[in-house]
């Protein structure tokens, strides 16, 4: 009924996308306390005290930290023009959601997941980011940072996904590509320092405000997008399915991933590579809606081959993790000798800026890590002025990286936030230590992928599917 008034290609989904911003503040619920304004790393929120605040969507990097901190809720004693049922519908949330609704919120997309799962011809594939498996249990009363990859996989199978794959697999592929790219830049005097490109809020910020530095950004797509491309090409081949029938869902700790999957250039597979992103919280709400008792589920594995992962892929979910995973592989690729110890404590840490120098078998690498985007500008100034002496910079917008992302379970008590984030981070490292394979280049399914399908890292096929030209993307958006 909507399509009649528009171009044939405009569907209800497009209309929803056009009309609902990914991050917004509900004027009826906002008390104007200003806490979101203070936490926003890019000063995208404005408003006078005690009056509803607004998000400037042009500046907003969609990190969702305002959603996490917001405490203006639909108090049951107060009457609002919009009823709770209407509010749930407006936000794209399930009618069975019981939790309080807060002023700062993100666009819900769960109805489209249900629709895809109920469409008989659709082949549904799901991927989960590393940080989801150390947080989703919290929504079911489990302790902060409870590590539940087996239950997560079991729940996704129970919901009816045809393939339960993993972003961690693609994180390992990212290391193959990004590691090779770093080595190439060092050996061929390319632009240094190279920046990580897996955090979509960081990429958007650089495009929006520092586009003179885009050459520094790794050309690698994020693990989510690499996974999406591989599912509709390599994955479709394995299952002998027409990729047009695949509906690819990503479960992310991040609200900006919703934006990333909709970027027009993210279609190397010939289709939109990732069809839809839902957050950790949205998945928890769907699991409850379906009547699945999450804590009682027996562990199940992720599906092979694209659900096979190493400890290195898993630590992408916290600050320093991409760096550590990259160093575990790059040092070995450069020298032919593995690092003596895989616990790279010197790149691990908390919010802020960290720097480290690694010397291994005559190779010296300098790296920097920024957690929390509000800390980045001084580092970028150092790079502009030529003072930066490091080769590789990892940036994550959120305080401790993805474990504290905008789509993660919302911790209600401010004085428990840090405890929750540290718990999730510890969960990721514990999982890494428990896995038999802890280096991305040792992932047997990644080796097979390159052998059977991609060829070499940075090779023709890999370049086409897994890389993007950031300096040109801006013209397309």
């Amino acid at each position: 009924m909507y399509a009649k008034n528009f171009d044939e290609t405009v569907t209800i989904d497009t209309i929803i996308k056009m009309t609902s911003p990914i991050i917004a503040i509900d004027k009826e619920l906002c008390t104007g306390c200003g806490r979101c304004l203070e936490i926003c790393p890019v000063e995208a929120i404005a408003g006078k005290p005690n009056t509803p605040h607004e998000v400037d969507t042009a500046v907003c990097i969609l990190c969702g930290q305002c959603v996490q901190i917001c405490s203006g809720y639909d108090a049951p004693d107060e009457t609002f023009p919009t009823s709770r049922a209407e509010r749930l519908e407006q936000r794209g949330m399930l009618p069975t959601v019981q939790e309080p609704l807060f002023a700062a919120h993100y666009r819900g997309d769960i109805h489209r997941v249900i629709e895809a799962l109920q469409t008989p011809d659709m082949f549904t594939i799901v991927q989960c980011a590393p940080a989801v498996r150390v947080a989703i249990g919290e929504e079911f009363g489990m302790p902060y940072g409870a590590l539940t990859p087996g239950k997560l996989s079991a729940a996704l199978h129970a919901l009816g996904f045809d393939r339960v794959y993993d972003t961690n697999f693609a994180a390992d592929v990212t290391i193959m590509e990004e590691g090779a790219e770093l080595i190439k830049r060092i050996q061929e005097n390319g632009t240094l320092p190279m920046f990580t490109s897996c955090c979509p809020g960081w990429v958007k910020y650089l495009e929006d405000q520092h586009d003179d530095l885009l050459e520094h950004l790794s050309s690698c797509k994020s693990p989510q997008q690499m996974a999406g491309t591989l599912f509709k090409t390599y994955g479709a081949k394995i299952d002998q399915i027409d990729p047009a029938r695949i509906f690819s869902v990503a479960v992310m700790p991040c609200t900006c991933k919703k934006f990333e999957c909709e970027r027009p250039e993210m279609n190397a597979s010939g289709y939109q590579d990732v069809d839809l992103v839902i957050t950790t919280r949205e998945l928890a709400q769907l699991i409850k809606h379906a009547g699945i008792d999450f804590p009682a589920l027996s562990d199940e594995d992720f599906d092979n081959p694209l659900g096979c992962y190493t400890g290195a892929g898993n630590i992408f979910g916290t600050t320093g993790g991409v760096m550590e995973a990259a160093l575990r592989s790059a040092c070995e690729m450069l020298t032919g000798t593995p690092l003596p110890d895989l616990e790279l404590e010197y790149v691990r840490g908390d919010e802020g800026i960290r720097k480290a120098a690694i010397v291994h078998e005559g190779v010296a690498l300098k790296v920097a890590i920024v957690a929390g985007l509000q800390h980045i500008d001084s580092v970028l100034e150092q790079i502009r002025s030529g003072e930066a002496d490091f080769h590789f910079l990892e940036v994550m917008c959120c305080p401790l990286g993805c474990v504290s992302g905008g789509g993660q379970p919302k911790v209600l008590l401010p004085n428990q936030c840090l405890e929750a984030h540290i718990g999730r981070k510890s969960g990721l490292y514990a999982h890494d230590r428990s896995l038999a394979v802890r280096k991305s280049h040792d992932n047997p399914q990644v080796k097979k992928l390159y052998q059977d399908f991609l060829g070499e890292p940075l090779g023709h096929e890999a370049h086409h599917l897994l890389h993007t030209d950031h300096s040109h993307n801006r013209n397309l958006v």
Binding site: T31, G32, C33, G34, R35, P49, N50, S71, G72, Y73, A75, P76, D77, Q98, E99, P100, F102, E138, E139, F140, G141, P143, Y144, R281, A284, Q285, K288, P409, K410, V411, L412, L413, P414, N415, Q416, A420
Partner: protein, 205 residues
């Protein structure tokens, strides 16, 4: 406690510091939840039920809550002795409350509130059938037509058993504090003495 006759302590907000964020209400509701696991929003399967109430006025916002009166009129008025004095807290035994609202009428601060009762996210029904055809049961779970939801009175218990009340511990502006009347009085007297000393010194010199 130094003295058995200690006056009841209470929580009070500084209106100059309060930004109206409602964290105190969320914190209050969270620590008093019957499920005891509401670490994250997804665990809140009841509406927020706070024991202090953010009041927003054109002059600004501030939460109001129980003063834990020494001759508590709510306790004196309660016909079923559901309100008692525990240590230095005026305490409601919610299991005894019959919802008569007498305490609400007696309280000069509006610190007591009747709220619907939930268990495991589902409404608890009253024993008395609802005969009116026009009145629909509130928050019905679908099979409870003809019964109204049970309501009991709740009020601040100053987080008995916790080191610090949740509202005080979580206020991002440190706008809330526990006031001990004796200490408050001593501090005020000290301030008065200091200012008086300054006045006298200025006057004599």
């Amino acid at each position: 406690m130094n003295t058995p006759y200690r006056l009841n302590r209470f929580v009070i907000a500084d209106p100059g510091k309060c930004i109206g964020c409602r964290v105190c209400e969320i914190a209050c509701s969270t620590v008093h939840s019957r499920e005891k696991t509401p670490l994250t929003a997804g665990n809140m399967n009841n509406p927020v039920q706070s024991r202090l109430y953010l009041v927003r006025t054109p002059q600004g916002a501030v939460p109001v809550q129980c003063r834990h009166c020494e001759n508590a009129p709510c306790a004196a008025a309660c016909p079923v002795l559901a309100i008692t004095q525990k240590d230095d807290v005026i305490y409601v035994d919610e299991d005894l409350c019959i919802g008569c609202k007498t305490c609400m009428l007696a309280c000069p601060f509006g610190a007591l509130k009747l709220v619907p009762v939930f268990e495991n996210g589902l409404p608890v029904e009253q024993n008395l059938p609802l005969l009116s055809e026009t009145a629909q049961p509130e928050n019905s779970n679908g099979d409870s037509d003809g019964y109204k939801q049970l309501h009991v009175v709740i009020k601040c218990d100053r987080c008995l058993g916790l080191e610090q009340p949740a509202c005080v511990a979580n206020c991002p502006q440190q706008a809330l504090q526990v006031v001990s009347p004796e200490e408050h009085l001593a501090a005020r007297m000290h301030e008065a003495a200091v200012s008086l000393a300054a006045v006298v010194r200025n006057y004599t010199s």
